[in-house]
Amino acid sequence: MNNQTKASFNKEFLAFFRTNVLITVALVIIGLAVLSPVMIAGMGMFMDAMSDLYEEMGTDVSGMTELLGESVSLGVQSAVESIVGVGLIVMIILLNKAAGGEQKKRAVIIPKSSGLRSFSYILPKFIIYPLSGFVFSIIATLAAWAVSIPLFDKNDVMFATAFLAGILSGVAVMLYICFHLALGTATGKAGMSAAVCITVSVLLPTVMSQLSTDYMYNPFTLQYLAALVLQAGNTSQLQASDIIVSIAFALAIMVVAFLVALFAQNARRIDNYGNEIDL
């Protein structure tokens, strides 16, 4: 790896750590993931405590109460939804600076005038931030699993299953982060990119899940695939190869996003050697 790329990695690390983005992302994603099963279990206990009142009102909540207090998989599913929902939205917003915000502020003109190449500029962003999202998603899912075990009656989720669900949610998070980085760095408009990615991350999976319920080979419904994995009895229907291919599609799209960002940066490069730039 050349000096420029190493220096660029160092720059992104410093940005990630010193601006408190890292700690905020970690706290939000893990916090939401841990709170989700707590809220589910709490809702069940609340409804159980209020069951007499509901009965007087003519509503039988015993089924719901049983469901909410039943299995660890429900707790972990809610955590995965939070990670790829609110957690992802927070991470997208926190990454605005890296996804075109510093370009909008014109902070990249001096480095680019000095000779910073597009590949060295873009590559660290597409490694550090998506990988961080991936790692925190796995940690958050496992934390939610650990918290869910004492809260729910039935522990129907093994560690390996929770880990797999974490990987699937992590890949989903990586995918949208790569979109945001690509769109933001290509346009220099971080706010617009964030709005588009958040909208897509909310709407697209919902639309696609209505079109098909097996979620196979679809990189935009990985969180629903994670839910299938977690639901007791469904894992026998899933082959390892199916899951691997789904993840591979998502990774392929991330590579395309990186190439798009690289192409856009190259089109806007500054060549200060007194030559004409070759667009």
Partner: protein, 312 residues
């Protein structure tokens, strides 16, 4: 070093540059002047390949010339300190030598060595500009372009930046100083170009411009006894007229075909013979500010290409 011919640039059909010509020689400190929005930054951006040109030629007179660029109102990475930022710039430049040593050198050159451990977030505007200049200097560029380096700075900040630029100028660096602050230009520049309505209205060394637009046949006289002095001066045979200006000084204009030396001699000797000792007598020249305002208002344009001009 750099020659520009017929540079044209429009933004969405709005023409900014309409055939700009410019010539910068090695060692020049070129003051590139113009009103806000006239196209100075566009010209610099085109030279630095940040923005493509529509038409025209830019000849760098060198196969591979390195340009150091300080943009207007530079933004830096505020989560880094000065050392870290310049080390990063050193890597961007693919600097061959010891990056740490070079970083220390440019920090010393710009007077930022003692503040380099602090985060850029805590820097003043003047300090940010100095780090920006240090970054532009890092790879020892052949041409240094500074776009409004003192804009939005307080007088102390401006003085700091101009000291740095003066030191660089004294070492023989080739600098294009893009600004609308004329006192900064007069302090450091040897050559000036004034951009007006998309073309270079005037270009030349400061002394050439002052000679071209100045009153070659006029003096300024400062005297305690203004009225009496004016009456005496108007009696001198070589004097066309002597008038009291609004600020109290006297402008003495010579008749046609009378040279400056003769006018000066006659003025001083006549006043001395009449026991009047003036506080000062000097040749009347337009200041750069007067030239700039005259060019921008259009008043001096008809005289821009002429060899001599009498200012009225």
């Amino acid at each position: 070093m750099l020659t520009i011919n017929g540079l044209v640039k429009s933004y969405k059909h709005f023409p900014v540059l309409k055939g700009l010509n410019m010539n910068v020689e090695k060692g020049d400190v070129y003051g590139f002047l113009g009103t806000n929005g006239c196209g100075k930054t566009t010209t610099m951006n085109i030279i630095c390949n940040i923005v493509p040109k529509d038409e025209g030629e830019i000849d760098f007179k060198s196969e591979s010339m390195r340009i150091g660029y300080l943009p207007e109102s530079p933004a830096l990475f505020d989560y880094m300190n000065g050392f870290e930022y310049l080390n990063f710039i050193g890597a961007c430049c693919d600097y061959d030598g010891d990056i740490g040593k070079r970083t220390s050198e440019v920090l010393e050159l710009t007077g930022m060595y003692n503040d380099a451990q602090r985060y850029i977030k805590g820097y003043s505007r003047g300090m940010i500009q100095r780090i920006g200049i240090a970054a532009a200097l890092y790879a020892s560029p052949d041409l240094l372009i500074l776009d409004e380096p003192t804009s939005a700075l307080d007088p102390e900040g401006r003085a700091e930046i101009m000291d740095v630029i003066k030191r660089l100028a004294d070492t023989g660096s080739t600098i294009i100083l893009c600004t609308h602050i004329l006192t900064d230009v007069e302090r450091v520049a040897n050559k000036v170009g004034i951009l007006r309505q998309g073309v270079m209205a005037v270009e030349g060394t400061l002394s050439e411009l002052k000679k071209r637009f100045g009153s070659e046949n006029a003096l300024t006289v400062l005297s305690q006894n203004t009225q009496e002095t004016v009456e005496i001066l108007n009696e001198i045979e070589v004097v066309e007229n002597a008038v009291i200006e609004p600020y109290g000084d006297i402008t003495v204009r010579a008749k046609h075909a009378v040279n400056e030396a003769e006018l000066f001699y006659k003025t001083v000797t006549t006043l001395a013979s009449r026991q009047i000792v003036p506080e000062g007598v000097w040749f009347k020249r337009l200041s750069l500010e007067q030239i700039y305002l005259g060019v921008n208002s259009g008043y001096l344009i008809p005289y821009a290409q002429q060899g001599g001009f009498t200012y009225e």
